[in-house]
């Protein structure tokens, strides 16, 4: 339902989406530390110490981006990391950051 099918985003756009909020940051950290995690939205919210209501819109952003995927299992909707897409997105971010100058960079 939320599978991302969109025009190619730039590295900087991807970065803005990934780090668009603290909750999105928490979700990224959760799934990067635990790439094999498969859970419901409720379960994911509990794992980052949040309520489902606060998490669901942030989750949608990451589902739209494609870094997370959703699937129906029995009566539950589960979310999990799309490892291949995650790798591609982070590579785009890395490529973008190679061109960015940091203040005081050598």
């Amino acid at each position: 339902m939320f599978r991302g099918e969109q025009a190619e985003m730039s590295g900087s756009e991807i970065l803005s989406t990934l780090l668009g909020s603290e909750i999105r940051g928490d979700l990224l950290v959760l799934f990067h530390k635990n790439p094999g995690l498969i859970d419901t939205v409720d379960g994911v919210a509990r794992r980052i110490g949040r309520t489902t209501v606060t998490v669901i819109s942030e989750l949608r952003e990451l589902l739209e981006l494609g870094v997370l995927r959703q699937k129906r299992i029995g009566n539950s909707e589960i979310v999990f990391l799309d490892r291949a897409k995650d790798r591609d997105l982070l590579q785009s971010v890395a490529n973008h950051l190679k061109t960015v100058r940091i203040g005081g960079e050598k």
Binding site: P35, G36, L37, D39, G43, I78
Partner: protein, 281 residues
Amino acid sequence: MTAARSKTGASGFDQLFPGKAEENSRVKTGIVELDEMLRGGFMPGDAVMLAGSAGTGKTTLALQYLVNGVKLGEPGIYVTFEELPDQIYRDAKNFGWDLRKMEEEDKFRVICTSPSLMLESGSDSLLDDVLHEIQPRRLVIDSLSHLEMFVKRDDMRIEAYRVIRYLKTRGISSVLLWESPQISGGSFSVTDVGLSFLVDCIVALKPVEIESSMRKALVILKMRGSDHDKRLREFEITSAGIKIESAFSNYEGIISGSPRKVASEKLMEMFRGASEKQKKA
């Protein structure tokens, strides 16, 4: 023309050279002494129950089985219901096993989910994608005991059977962890919900107190279609994983929880004691 299969699964030609062919078809744990106890390893496609109380080394043994499988070219999956993958990666690193690297190479996966989701899976299992992705030969479920919390007691056997059948029909050799508060007596039953009969092999781990120190014992309680070592062997968890030592040949009653020295050993001790006294006198 299909050759008749022996009780151990070997074909007619294989029966001419039973040792070699059979050894090659076994699923090796990679722990040399354990594979010897199993006469070469587990039978391919078998569901193995690894039972023991908390802290006996079930997770370590299960991980070691998978890691050694990866070294043999057999991808594996570790399904956990309790610990997060992050914790599993850290624990494995202590033994020198880099699970993240194996995952990057698509030879391994740590899957963390809830028992309720595992039970909800009908025709579309939550494991389908990952099985398709890495085509595992081995899989560990840590633990089957967690499923018990989510089903009625009478349904546990059916649910366990569903999981075991799902894995067997895909040709996966599985190790199913079971937290067993006590394994005692000569019974094959290590669970109180009748699961012992569903699995092909049962390996039991048990802490034992001998001369005021805690030691660990491993025994193969059951192995369908194959001979196996019947002795209780001591094992320890080293910095490189499980290491299996010699059999507890000087003791009896270990499984019953009341270990005592065998009569011949007691006699030897008495002789030694008397001899020492004589020397001093």
